[in-house]
């Protein structure tokens, strides 16, 4: 069976399953710049997952993963950093020529996306997960430094800074699932290092072959999306007692 057929089956599956309708949304960053995203609400209330794209793609690279996670019971938000996809406008029109200015704004854009996600009326705001790809890996880790309600990370083909490493080393309650492809430059070693630093006993790394970079792996290896969903189901439960009750 070809990869294309498998992907078509995957899309047909998630498109036909019972779930609420996805919708394109806009929300403001702290400086007022309007970011565009796609929100996939869960039928029942549940945790929220933010998808942070890589710097050579936009939120559409996560379309299939978002549908699979949503079918599995999660609220999902994918969004475009300013200068990408639907978030082009004003002074931010092209990431390649405005890299420094865009990267500087990335943490604030992530915070705005998390704020939007957590404020949806189907989202358990204290039960969040984040997927980050490539340059989004460090953004995901830095977001978990700022937001303790992020309970788990899925990191695809990327690295982090020294303070990101220190955070991972100190985060006993932050299980991490890292994925990279062996031939993808420094990405495998970066992911292995991050997962190796993790203080959580369940953190693990998955190495692929000839799978490409970050979200490309989702398209080239049909099982990666399923593995990510299973990871979230184990580490960010949609029901039951993955979290202590909200006493206060």
């Amino acid at each position: 069976m070809t990869m294309q057929v498998v992907l078509a089956i995957g899309l047909a599956l998630v498109a036909s399953a019972a779930r609420a309708e996805q919708r394109d949304v806009t929300f403001p960053a702290s400086d007022g710049f309007m970011l565009q995203g796609t929100f996939y609400p869960s039928v029942r209330g549940g945790p929220g997952i933010l998808l942070i794209h890589q710097c050579n793609a936009d939120r559409r690279s996560y379309d299939q993963l978002a549908l699979m996670l949503n079918t599995a019971g999660y609220n999902v938000l994918s969004f475009d950093f300013r200068g990408f996809g639907g978030s082009r406008g004003g002074q931010y029109t092209d990431f390649r020529s405005q890299r420094e200015a865009v990267v500087e704004k990335m943490p604030g854009d992530v915070d705005a996306a998390l704020k939007f996600l957590a404020s949806r009326n189907t989202v358990i705001a204290r039960a969040l997960g984040v997927v980050g790809g490539s340059c989004g890996v460090n953004q995901a880790i830095q977001a978990s430094r700022r937001h303790p309600d992020i309970r788990t990370l899925v990191l695809l083909s990327g690295g982090t800074s020294a303070d990101g490493e220190a955070h991972i080393r100190a985060s006993r309650h932050l299980p991490i699932f890292g994925v990279a492809s062996e031939e993808d430059g420094t990405a495998p070693e970066s992911i292995k290092k991050i997962v190796g630093l993790s203080a959580h006993p369940d953190s693990r790394v998955q190495m692929l072959k000839n799978a490409g970079h970050a979200a490309e792996m989702l398209a080239k290896q049909e099982d990666v999306g399923a593995d990510i969903v299973i990871w979230f189901r184990a580490n960010l439960p949609v029901a039951g007692y993955g979290l202590p009750p909200a006493i206060r």
Partner: protein, 475 residues
């Protein structure tokens, strides 16, 4: 508030059970190249997986068709090879359970070889007939359905155990032969149990009632007395269904919920079904249904709308169901309460034994299910049957108790008068327990999930004409 729905078809559960008794394919009968979804894998999925893995159920994806299953093939392989799925926690060295849904090694090998071969579809003509699952999300096909009033669960705060009474949803003498409880918001339900009792003039209908439980800032009970629902005397709080106004008065509750562990929803628990063993619970006309509710907060305000479905019989089954009265009955086992009150799990203890429960059997009974219950620090539980001659036999050992999968282990064990059952829970308060909210805390007995308990919960059958007064005594 309640409604009747019409009845009867061949229960899908029985169909599934029939499929379940079909012989498992032997690994030697298949080769990797010959294994296909329709011919080989689908029968295994129908038998063991589809009850949860279909639209509207708890499974994260559907396994009804090849198209729905194929994208998850590798994840399925991983789950079955590691025996993470299907969820089943009984140590296979002990006991025999007729609802054991763990896969046989030949079935695991078959799925693994199918995935390793590229998960081929095969010929749809080879597929078994689809299982006819009941509509409406049910696992059973109920003859009678009852809807509890919508219950608004706040985003934050502590919700004590509450109870509420209704007239039983049967107009005449009825035998209940199976029960399924379906919360609309399972993430906020710690338990939802009910039982039947003769109506009393003092029992109000449609009024939630609970006791005020003094707690510290961390939510722990200030006075641990071994009961789960607070003091039997103190401040009684009540609220009419549909109202937000809470009334307070000193005194005792108008009604208790003795016997309300007869039927329960617990995380991971599917339903209770006595039809395969030709048994049921007699509910006389005019009975009350006493519901014990324990909701918990998740951070998201929701409204739970729970449905309860029954299959019923107008004629008496061969045997009747005998519940093990819980600790809140009118004759609570005092020694057990005292033992519960002594539970104190030290910080970081990874294998702390709880107080032993001892149950005496004063008459011959047939034990038909276990439903062990502890909270998030529960680690293991062992049921040891002590025969009248003193011989000891482990009849259930759950080495890895999981709060999110509180299964019923169905069995058939004849127990002779003079036997005893010893039940021992252990607890893991270490940081290695991923569900532990605070390894540094002392943990004592209580009804909230951050407190602990260890409840044996067993079900028994006796002949219809048997006098069961004081048949089972929990000490």
């Amino acid at each position: 508030m309640r409604r009747r729905i019409c009845i009867v078809a061949v229960p899908a559960v029985l169909l599934v059970a029939a499929i379940a008794w079909a012989p498992a394919p032997a690994a030697s009968q298949t080769s990797a190249s010959a294994v296909t979804f329709h011919k080989d894998v689908l029968p295994v999925l129908q038998k063991n997986c589809q009850s949860c893995h279909r639209p509207g159920q708890i499974g994260p994806f559907s396994m009804l068709t090849y198209k729905e299953t194929r994208p998850w093939a590798k994840a399925i392989r991983q789950a079955v090879v590691t025996r993470a799925m299907p969820p089943w926690f009984a140590d296979p060295r002990y006991g025999h359970f007729n609802n054991d849904r763990s896969l046989k090694q030949a079935e695991i090998d078959l799925i693994a070889s199918w995935v390793d071969a590229g998960a081929p579809e095969g010929n749809p003509a080879d597929a078994p007939k689809p299982v006819e699952w009941p509509e409406g999300g049910w696992q059973i096909k109920p003859d009678v359905a009852f809807e509890l009033p919508p219950y608004p669960v706040p985003a934050k705060g502590i919700i004590e155990w509450e109870r509420i009474a209704f007239p039983a949803p049967f107009k005449e003498d009825t035998w209940v032969t199976s029960v399924e409880i379906l919360p609309s918001e399972p993430a906020v339900v710690h338990h939802l149990c009910f039982g039947f009792q003769k109506h009393r003039e003092t029992t109000p209908y449609g009024v939630y009632q609970w006791m005020e439980v003094p707690r510290d800032q961390n939510g722990n009970m200030l006075k641990v007395d071994g009961t789960t629902t607070g003091p039997r005397k103190g401040i009684v709080l009540s609220r009419k269904a549909g109202s937000t106004e809470v009334m307070r008065r000193p005194g005792s509750p108008d009604f208790f919920h003795e016997g309300t562990n007869e039927f329960c929803y617990l995380p991971g628990l599917a339903y209770e079904d006595y039809r395969p063993v030709d048994a049921g619970m007699f509910v006389p006309a005019g009975s009350d249904m006493i519901v014990s509710l324990h909701y918990t907060t998740t951070g998201l305000a929701v409204v739970d709308k729970t449905r309860i479905g029954f299959t019923v019989s107008k004629s008496a089954p061969k045997k009747k169901f005998l519940p093990q009265d819980g600790a809140e009955g009118e004759n609570p086992p005092v020694a057990r309460q005292q033992a519960n009150a002594s539970l104190a799990i030290p910080p970081f203890a990874d294998n702390h034994p709880g107080p032993v429960a001892m149950i005496d059997f004063m008459k011959d009974v047939e034990l038909v299910w276990f439903r062990p219950h502890a909270h998030v620090r529960g680690k293991s539980v062992r049921y040891t049957l002590i025969h009248p001659d003193g011989r000891e036999e482990t009849v259930l050992y759950v080495p890895n108790y999981n709060f999110n999968w509180q299964l019923t282990y169905r069995t058939s064990i004849p127990i002779k008068k003079g036997s005893k059952m010893r039940v021992q829970f252990t607890y893991d308060n270490s940081a290695r327990n991923k569900y532990n909210p605070d390894p540094s805390a002392w943990v004592r007995y209580g009804g909230q999930s951050w407190e602990e308990m260890g409840t044996p919960n067993m079900g028994f059958l006796v002949n219809q004409d048997e006098d069961v007064t004081n048949a089972i005594i929990e000490r």
